[in-house]
Structures are given as C-alpha cells and as structure tokens.
C-alpha cells in the first residue's frame, strides 16, 4: 500500500505542492512592484505611471553630496546629522528596550511577587493600546519634565511604547528554559543575578538578537513621535524629512522623494536580510544551539 502511494505521490502532488507558492507570489506581486518602482524612479528625472521618462541619472541623489543645490533641502538640517539622529534614536530605544525587557521578562517568568498577575495583565493591555490616544498626555508630561523637543524625550517615549512587546517576548523565551538549569546554577553556588547573567541570558540570546533588530527597525521607522514631539528641527529624524518633502506645497518632486525614501529604508532592508535567521526564531522561541 505504502509503496503504491509513494510512487503516485510526486507526479500528482507536484502541482498541488506548487499551488501555495503561486498564490503567495500573486499576492506579493503588488508589493514587489512597489519596491521596484521606488528603486528605478530614483534614477530617472520623471516617471509617468510605470514608465520612466528621460535618461538614467544620479541627479535625484544630489542631496547626498550637494544638498544646497536641492531647493527642498535648503532650509532643513543636513542629511548626515539627520541620519545620525535617526541612528541614535533607533539604537538607544533598542538598547534600553533590550535591557529592561530582558530583566522584566525574567522577573515575570521566574519570580513570584505580589501583583505579578496584575502587572502581566497590564503589560498586555498596554501592548494593545493605540499610542495616538496618548499624544496629548505625553505632550504635557514631556513639557513638565523639560524633555519636549529633545531627542532624549522621544527616545524614552518610544522605548516605553516598545516595552510591552519586548517584555512579553522575553518572558516567552525565559519560560522555555527548564527550571532545572536555574536550580542547578543556584546549587553550583551562583546567586540570582549571576544565574541570570551567566546561564539564563546566554540561553535566550536568539530572542535578544531578534528583539534588538525589531526594536531598532521600529525606532528607525518611527514617524509620529519624532514628528510631534520634536517640531523645531535640529534633532529631527529621517522619517520627518521624508514627510517634509512630501508635504512641500503643491509640487512634489517624486524623483527626490524616492531617492530620499530609498536612502531611508536601505539600512532597514540590509538589516533584515542580515538578521533573517534571528528574526525567524522570535516566533519559534525555545532553547536551541
């Protein structure tokens, strides 16, 4: 029986096996087209629909080496500090988020303390809270703390928004580590902190790496918070620059917009490609390798 099925299977099932790929490819096509369009419109003076007009040129990328010749860039902070700001913003939210998530996630996973269930519940609740609704309140708080219009303030806000997710993810990774390992470390003579540092953290490394990348990307892509809480410009990030070019009066220079846009998303794309394997694991969890 088994042999007969085994022989028949490949020829009839090949098409069936390909089906999901066909469906997925069709569904992905529009998004792919979008990226391709973004890419080539940045190298032509104009694009009508999908058809480029004129000759291949680097003219749209002038903002990198000769920003003063680009009218839209003239009364804005230069691109290099902007990029640097964006990097600091993303890196800091990622680093602080990682530190707090890995400690809080451990505490939620392993320690029994009063109010644990309530805290866990509120973490979930906060995660599903739309941040827009808090803008006014945040504005008041930032003003009161003297952090309004400062990068530090936005970093703190962004990190706070990212924490529920980070804590929840890290708790999941810690939950997957057998208790025996921790008990063993305690018996071997380690204290609680050393156990966390030497045994637990290395075992959740895949989770830490994945979370680091996700938080970084989230920070890099964040538009609303820097836009609202840093209006005056000197500490702006790339996302607000893109918005600025897009919102410049009646005439929008799509060539410039796509070039800046591409410049803006390139690091994220590269990071995703490099960290693909790590990111896969965030939803698999588990102690491996």
């Amino acid at each position: 029986m088994a042999a007969v099925v085994g022989e028949r299977a490949p020829s009839t099932n090949r098409w069936l096996a390909a089906l999901p790929y066909v469906v997925l490819a069709l569904a992905t096509l529009p998004i792919l087209v979008l990226y391709v369009w973004l890419f080539y419109s940045s190298f032509f003076p104009r694009v009508e629909g999908f058809r480029p007009v004129g000759d291949f040129t680097f003219d749209n990328w002038r903002f990198l080496w000769d920003p003063l010749s680009v009218p839209q860039m003239r009364n804005r902070p230069p691109i290099v500090p902007l990029t640097f700001n964006t990097f600091i913003f993303a890196a800091m939210t990622s680093a602080i988020g990682l530190l707090v998530s890995s400690m809080a996630g451990y505490a939620f996973s392993r320690l029994r303390f009063p109010g644990r269930r309530m805290f866990l519940g509120s973490v979930l609740l906060l995660h599903s809270f739309p941040s827009v609704t808090l803008l006014i309140a945040l504005f008041v708080v930032l003003r009161a703390l003297g952090l309004y219009d400062k990068l530090v303030g936005v970093i703190l806000v962004q990190t706070a928004f990212a924490l529920p997710f980070g804590i929840w993810i890290m708790k999941g990774f810690f939950d997957n580590i057998p208790w025996d390992l921790e008990m063993s470390a305690l018996v071997d003579g380690a204290g609680r902190f050393r156990t966390w540092w030497r045994i637990m953290l290395p075992l959740v490394k895949p989770g830490l790496l994945a979370l680091a990348v996700l938080l970084f990307v989230e920070g890099w892509n964040q538009f609303l918070l820097p836009f609202v809480f840093m209006p005056s410009g000197s500490q702006q990030t790339l996302s607000t620059l893109v918005k600025g070019i897009l919102g410049e009066g009646r005439f929008v220079d799509y060539g410039l917009l796509t070039a800046v846009g591409l410049y803006y998303i390139a690091p994220v794309l590269i990071l995703f490609v490099l960290a693909q394997d790590q990111l896969m694991r965030i939803y698999a969890g588990g102690v491996k390798g």
Binding site: P178, S184, L186, V187, G189, A190, G191, R198, P202, K205
Partner: protein, 358 residues
C-alpha cells in the same frame, strides 16, 4: 557530614508534598529515598538543597541549622534528573562553573581540578564537547563531575539513572556506588526503582504520599517490612498477599484461606488475638511440590521464564499466587501442583491498617 531532617513539611497551596519527615543520614552514608511517583522525593531533595524553603521543620547539616541558608551557602553538589548541563558551555566549562564562583581558587588550580574530576568519571576525553554532543551516559558522568568538583559535603542525586537504558543503568549503579564510597561523601539519592535503592544504598527511606513509611537497611526492609505498603513495594516480583482467618488448632495457630492452610510457628504469631490477618509471602519463599503435599493445592496458570529462573502464576482457590521456580522446572499450564511455604518467611499484616502484626 551528618544530615538531619526534623518534622520537615512542605505544602504547595493545598497540596502537602512532604509531611512531618524525620530522617537522619550519618556522615559518609549513602541513603536512598524510595517511593512511587509523586510521593515527595524530589521536593525533599530540593528542600535539602535549599531551592525550596520548608513550610515547617528544620534541616541540620553537622550541627548547624541550614534551613534559612541559600543553596550556595550549603556546600552541596547535586545531579538533576535531567542532568541540567548548561547547553551553551563546553564540558570543561560546565565542570568549572562551580569553581568559577569561588574566588579563592586560581585559574591553574581550577583547570587541574576540572581535569581531576573529569578523569574520576572518565569524561576527560570529552572536555571540549558541548552537552548536545554527548550520549545520555556521558552527560550523566559530566553532571556527576560538576557536582563533585567543588568537593561538597553532601551529594544529592535525583533519579540519576532513570534516563539511561537498562544496560547502562546497571553499569552506572555499580559505578556511582563505588564512587560514593571512594569519595566518602554523605549522599542522598532519589529513586522510584526498588532494585536501585536496595542495590546501591546503605539505608533506604521508603516514602508514600509525603510520609516516611520505613527507614532501614535493604536487608531489614526485605526481611521485616514494617507494613504492607513497604512489603509490596520492596522485592521483585512483588510479595503475594493472602487475606486469611486466624484460628487455633491443636494448640497451634493456623492462617486459613480457600485451599490454603498455614500453621504459624511461634515467632510468626501476632500479639493479641486478631481474628484475621493479611498473610504476605514472597514468590521466592514458595516452592512447587507434588499435588497433595505442602500447605496449598493449585493449578499452574501461566509460566514465564525470565532467564535464570521462572515465574509461575498458580491458581489457588479464587486467587493467583506468584511463585519463583528453579531453572529446571518443567511445569505446564493446567498442571495440578502443591505449594510449600517457608514458614519462617511469612509476614502477617493487619487487614485494616496494614501494619505488621508479626
């Protein structure tokens, strides 16, 4: 180092895992905690290790009360049932970990001790491997080396052999026993396998539902079980139990059940005047004889050869008694036979409480 548990109790919410446990382990002694699954063995061990805090009761090492000390202050080495090797460290890093935490030990000193501990359990060839690259038996040896490397006063082992195959289990049984005597370390190990407990331990503590049932040497547990639970748990194949009436006959006391009549020698008579008793007799203390001889008559129900000997189930009256027959025994299903009981090997238990009567 001596270990004494006094009225040790552990509750998890409404579940009482260990109740009023009294146990003393002499310095250098090898003690087994034996009992069925869920009887509180691991909980007891983890309280001794300092992982769980007792609900009530005290734990004494030597003459120092330790029940409020952290695990690291107790001088304990422990082998976990899962071995709990740190997956991200090599074998030598695993073994070195307990030493790393002792500042007084210098690096060269540490390396020497890791090699020494590894050699003692024959894993010195594997020092650069990771736990995932080791067989179960090798992992267990590494766990032993890690537990012993800091020269603890007390060694705790939780079901150290349960993850090994039958052959390896037998080998390791002997090896752990030899190692324990060689190092001379006070050791407590947990097992649910009575054979392991009997063959390895100096004394065995039998537990049931969180309570200590018996605490004695293997010989004593086998020869004079204090109650029916212990009698049934120790020994393989397990003891036969026969509910019987006690009656006087010609000045003798006789235990009587359907198709069985057992005269009780003076030493086996219960104190007081009980009307009934559960008679316990081990399969190896019943001999198969010609029909009409012995104290019972029955019929062979099934014969199971188990290598050296044969286990014969014999139908007597309404019940089946298990008997160990010598290698040459050629009985077949349906044969009519007699059974002879070794009179001095009978155990009498109270039918209600299960306590030993004689």
């Amino acid at each position: 180092m001596r270990v004494a548990l006094e009225r040790l109790t552990k509750r998890f919410g409404t579940v009482t895992a260990v109740q009023e446990l009294d146990l003393e382990v002499r310095s250098g002694e090898f003690v087994a905690l034996l009992g069925p699954s869920g009887c509180g063995k691991t909980t007891t061990l983890l309280m001794i290790a300092g992982i769980y805090r007792p609900t009530t009761g005290t734990i004494v090492f030597g003459d120092r009360r330790v029940d409020h000390l952290h695990p690291k202050e107790r001088g304990i080495g422990m082998v976990f049932q899962s071995y709990a090797l740190y997956p991200h460290m090599t074998v030598s890093e695993n073994i070195a970990f307990p030493l790393e935490l002792q500042r007084a030990i210098t690096r060269p000193d540490r390396e020497a001790r890791v090699r020494e501990a590894a050699a003692k359990v024959q894993v010195d060839e594997l020092l650069d491997r990771r736990p995932a690259q080791l067989s179960g038996g090798q992992q267990q040896r590494v766990a032993l080396a890690r537990a012993l490397v800091k020269r603890p006063d007390i060694l705790l082992l939780d079901e150290p052999l349960s993850n090994l195959d039958a052959r390896l289990r037998h080998d390791m049984r002997g090896e752990i026993k030899r190692l324990q005597k060689e190092v001379g370390i006070t050791s407590i190990f947990v097992t649910h396998d009575q054979l392991e407990a009997l063959s390895m331990a100096d004394r065995v503590a039998v537990m049931r539902d969180g309570r200590l049932q018996a605490y004695a040497t293997p010989d004593e547990l086998y020869a004079h079980p204090v109650n029916r639970f212990v009698a049934g748990f120790i020994g393989s194949p397990p003891m036969n139990f026969i509910p019987a009436d006690l009656a006087a006959r010609n000045g003798d006391l006789v235990a009587r059940a359907q198709d069985i009549e057992l005269p009780l020698p003076p030493a086996q008579r219960p104190r007081g005047n009980a009307a009934g008793a559960t008679v316990g007799v081990r399969p190896e203390h019943i001999a198969i004889v010609a029909p009409g001889e012995g104290q019972a008559a029955g019929e062979v129900y099934v014969v199971e050869p188990v290598g050296r000997e044969q286990i014969v189930d014999v139908q007597v009256g309404g019940r089946v008694l298990r008997v160990v027959a010598p290698p040459g025994y050629g009985g077949k299903i349906g044969d009519r036979i007699g059974l002879r009981f070794a009179p001095e090997r009978l155990h009498l238990f109270d039918p209600q409480s299960g306590d030993r009567l004689a």
